[in-house]
């Protein structure tokens, strides 16, 4: 109960923030909120079922292009574009999810990566998507509006994950992560569960892509299907705690802030330090902040050494 009240307060605070912060804060906020949504969306499949998708950038790209094609080429309103993007992404999740969700481990990761690269290559050859040149959307001077939309999307995705974590459906997803063969013989329709998780993941990812497209007003295949964006989703979700409700959100807020601070103060070496942070995080806190919190409370700083002892050769 206390937790629920705290969360509601946090959301109210975030919703009110743009009326007190300056324009950069809002801009930074939009980015951070969208990233958190992407991490949370990745978490639905990656965190709960353990299927590490590198194809979320494909859903992001479809959301982006759905919105852009609707607005720039067909002159339809924004919400129609968002729906089109989300529809394309969810459709793609069903069609491609069925065959590739049979693959496990690295093979699944690479197939999803191939999906994203293939879609990017196809989009860059289509006239309706402006080929490799990209599309220009109309300019809107309403960053506060974009901020609130991004926040609403993050809240919606987090509520969805909250429901998953408490539901029978979520229990099924977790069972798949823990042992898929066992989950099957216990009566879980694993294919169905995985595809639904992928669809949910695709849905939120696509909407985030659509909002970002309208905000930034220019998209091209390289930015819409950016693999490094996908890697960032994974890192943020993993850093926070995969398969938890708030881990991915907290993780992505922290990493966004760290990255932003690095990029601002020591510009040139920021990416380098970010790479090192990833390496160190994987070594010393491979299960994310959530686990780190528990671990530190239980065994203190020895938690870090314990991780190495547990995972080294």
């Amino acid at each position: 109960m206390v937790r629920a009240i705290l969360l509601i307060l946090a959301v109210v605070f975030l919703a009110a923030a743009p009326f007190f912060g300056d324009a950069v804060m809002i801009q930074y906020g939009i980015d951070a909120l969208l990233f958190a949504t992407l991490a949370q969306a990745w978490n639905i499949l990656g965190g709960f079922t353990g299927y590490a998708s590198f194809g979320n950038s494909a859903f992001y790209g479809l959301g982006t292009y759905g919105t852009a094609i609707a607005m720039a080429q067909l002159h339809l309103p924004f919400w129609v574009g968002l729906s089109l993007g989300a529809f394309l992404a969810v459709l793609c999740a069903v069609v491609i999810g069925l065959p590739i969700l049979r693959l496990r481990g690295h093979y699944f990761a690479i197939a999803t990566l191939g999906l994203s690269a293939t879609l990017a290559a196809i989009i860059s050859n289509l006239d309706i998507s402006g080929r490799n040149i990209g599309l220009i959307l109309p300019l809107t001077r309403n960053d506060v509006g974009f901020y609130e939309e991004a926040l609403a999307l993050l809240v919606a995705s987090t509520l969805t994950v909250m429901w998953i974590a408490k539901s029978r459906f979520g229990m099924g997803l977790i069972a798949i992560r823990e042992d898929e063969d066992a989950a099957q013989v216990m009566g879980i329709n694993t294919t169905f569960y995985k595809v639904v998780a992928l669809m949910l993941s695709a849905f939120f990812t696509a909407i985030a892509g659509g909002i970002h497209a309208y905000w930034i007003t220019f998209i091209d295949p390289a930015s819409a299907f950016d693999l490094s964006l996908n890697v960032r989703m994974v890192i943020m979700a993993m850093f926070g705690g995969p398969g938890t409700v708030l881990g991915p959100v907290v993780g992505s807020f922290i990493l966004s802030a760290v990255y932003d601070a690095l990029a601002r103060s020591i510009s040139t070496a920021a990416a380098l330090l970010f790479g090192m942070v990833i390496v160190l995080a994987v070594i010393f806190m491979p299960r994310g902040l959530w686990d780190l919190g528990h671990g530190l409370r239980q065994v203190g700083w020895r938690y870090f050494l314990q991780n190495i002892r547990l995972h080294r050769l």
Partner: protein
Amino acid sequence: MGRLLAATLAALVMSLPVMGHAQTKTVTLGAALQITGPDGNLGRYFRDGYQIAVDRINEQGGLTIGGQNYRIALKILDSQTDLNLSVQQYGQLVTRDKVDFLLGPYNSNFTLNDSVIAEKYKVPMVSGGAAAAQIYSRGYKYIFGTSPPADNYFGSTLEMMTKLDPQPKKIALLVADDAFDVSVRAGVRALSAKDGFELVVDQVFKEHNADFGSLLSLTKSKSPDVILMGGHETESLNFIRQAKSLDVNPHHMMALTVGVPSADFRSALGKDAEYAFGMTPWMASPVIRDRWFGDAQKFAELFHRKLGYEADYHVASAVADVETFAYALEAAGSLDRDAVRDAIAKSDFESLYATIRYGETGQIDIPQIVIQVQDGKVVPVYTDHFLNKPRYPVPTWAKR
């Protein structure tokens, strides 16, 4: 943290002289450039070009705006060739760092995105490294560019070709699929239809393509008189090296949109750069006068002395961007953004880069000078008349 502290201290020290003159005020220009990351080698041209122009203007007493003496300050951030970060940083420059005006990043793609910030906050931005038509055709009012339109890049080359003997007929046109090169292609197609050239090869390849084996073999099989190639520097470099190794020789000549003017490019190619035609909107010539640097040649010498490498048209274009603001600020007589914006639109001055006049859309239109590598040096060959004798027709790889 230590670095942050050091940076703050440095900033303080740098701002000291300004504080010393109570009557001198500051106008700040800001840019987020690709200092690191894949575009880092070209981003630094803009950093150095902006910096040398600002320093020079300040050394010579700064500007007089509305009767008040001003110095120019420059705030440059490194976008690390990260598009998202670049947009964020431009936002930060405007709203948090409170810079007065914006200078553009390198390349069309970044400018397409970053100019949205300029438009959103109604801050004039002058960009020196973006030629794609899309940037200027959106009806935006606050973006200006000193790169000539992409669709006319090969204009002077094709014009020259009509005057060459033997007269070339068959053209192989190969361009990348990015915004800039697609515009280049559209221009060549229109012009070659007008001038009666035949496009025997007309292919678009993927941006960042590294292997041209198939395209070169196809080209060879069509035996063109001329190869026109449009792509980034890396693609152009691969293209020439692979043309040599596959023994692909156009009968008469090969011309490239980018690369030839850059020393980096020529030294990477070594002898294979010889005879290649290219283009530049700018040469370090003593006849191009400039208020602060004297003339273009003097500028080039100064630049080389200070920075240790050769200035090319990117650098000159960057200087012209800063000078655009200098002239416009003096003309507007205030730092009011809309007044300055209108003054920029009315720009008409001689710079070491070219005569600066922005067209309807905000883009400058100046002709490309056809250049050729002759004995390892870049020699201007043609503008609307021959400047020097081209080495033509070009010998085959085997006969060099």
